[in-house]
């Protein structure tokens, strides 16, 4: 977790004076924030360390543009999210998703969700997370990002707008379209399970 005693303003001033030690401290301070974003938006076949490195290098390259209008971690988060979206866009083909591709635990969680009409959440959280990740892999990069931020990270539409730079109406439209795609996926999976 970021250290509360860390003097970010002083550190940024030192980095602007090309102080290598301050730059190192800044990376260490922001690493938990960046790596959380990378892990939740990580495209397939991209190493999280490589993506984190790219985000930090972008941050340093653009540091002179930071005017302090938003808190520095928010500014870095935006760089991280947009970099992840760029990588997701570069990842053209998405593998077809079939019931047979699920692990035993994931299939069990999905079965529980699809068949159980009671308001009960599945017990296997790790399998549920992996299953959600596989489902989100089937969406386009922008739709996936919106659902990830909205439904998994429980951010508000205004927060997502600040992170991505997209308008609030666009975010709502994307969320609606993405949920419809997920609904269709659910129906297809249910059909596969029955057959």
């Amino acid at each position: 977790m970021p250290d509360d005693a860390f003097d970010l303003a002083a550190c940024l001033a030192a980095v602007r004076r090309r102080d290598q030690s301050a730059a190192r401290q800044l990376v260490e301070h922001l690493h938990p924030l960046v790596i959380r974003i990378v892990r939740s938006h990580l495209p397939r076949r991209v190493a999280e360390e490589d993506l984190a490195q790219e985000i930090f290098l972008k941050m340093f390259t653009r540091l002179e543009q930071y005017q302090g209008a938003v808190p520095f971690p928010h500014w870095v988060s935006r760089i991280a999210v947009t970099t992840c979206i760029d990588h997701l866009r570069a990842q053209k083909r998405r593998p077809e998703f079939r019931w047979a591709d699920l692990s035993e635990n994931e299939a069990e969680v999905l079965d529980q969700v699809l068949s159980d009409e009671r308001d009960e959440t599945p017990n296997d959280a790790l399998a549920a997370r992996e299953l959600v990740r596989k489902l989100l892999d089937q969406l386009g990069p922008e739709d996936r990002t919106v659902i990830q931020l909205l439904d998994l990270e429980q951010k508000s539409v205004a927060e997502i707008s600040a992170l991505t730079g997209w308008g609030q109406s666009m975010i709502k439209v994307r969320a609606f379209r993405a949920r419809r795609k997920l609904q269709k996926l659910f129906r297809d999976l249910q059909r596969q399970e029955k057959s």
Binding site: M1, R16, R18, Q20, S21, A23, R24, Q25, V27, E28, H31, P32, I35, R36, R39, E49, A52, Q53, F56, L57, F60, T61, R62, L63, E64, Q65, V109, L110, V113, L114, D119, E120, T121, P122, N123, D124, A125, L126, A128, R129, L131, V132, D151, L152, Q154, R179, L182, Q183, F186
Partner: protein, 98 residues
């Protein structure tokens, strides 16, 4: 809330309960490497965005220039061809008359 929304909410609620994956601290040597890489490059000044726009503008201008040369060349050829046909027609008419 419809049936799908309920199912999706239950699934995401379960996914949110999963513990954070892995250590969040920077790996050994990561921060040092990034700091060295970042500070070896010259800093981007306040004109960084403008420079990028200017480069894009230059590329767009070159593309436009090439397109206009190609267009002029094509229409120039048509004009010459058209003129040739008109000349042949004129000459033929002239011979028929004489």
């Amino acid at each position: 809330m419809n049936n799908f929304d309920q199912k999706w909410q239950r699934l995401t609620a379960a996914a949110r309960r999963a513990p954070a994956a892995g250590d969040e601290a920077a790996p050994q040597g990561f921060a040092t490497r990034i700091a060295a890489l970042a500070l070896e490059a010259p800093p981007a000044g306040p004109w960084f965005g403008v420079e990028r726009l200017a480069l894009r503008g230059l590329l767009a201008a070159c593309a436009l220039c090439a397109a206009s040369v190609a267009f002029h060349y094509a229409t120039g050829e048509l004009t010459v061809e058209g003129e040739d046909e008109a000349l042949i027609e004129f000459v033929n008419t002239d011979y028929e008359l004489s």
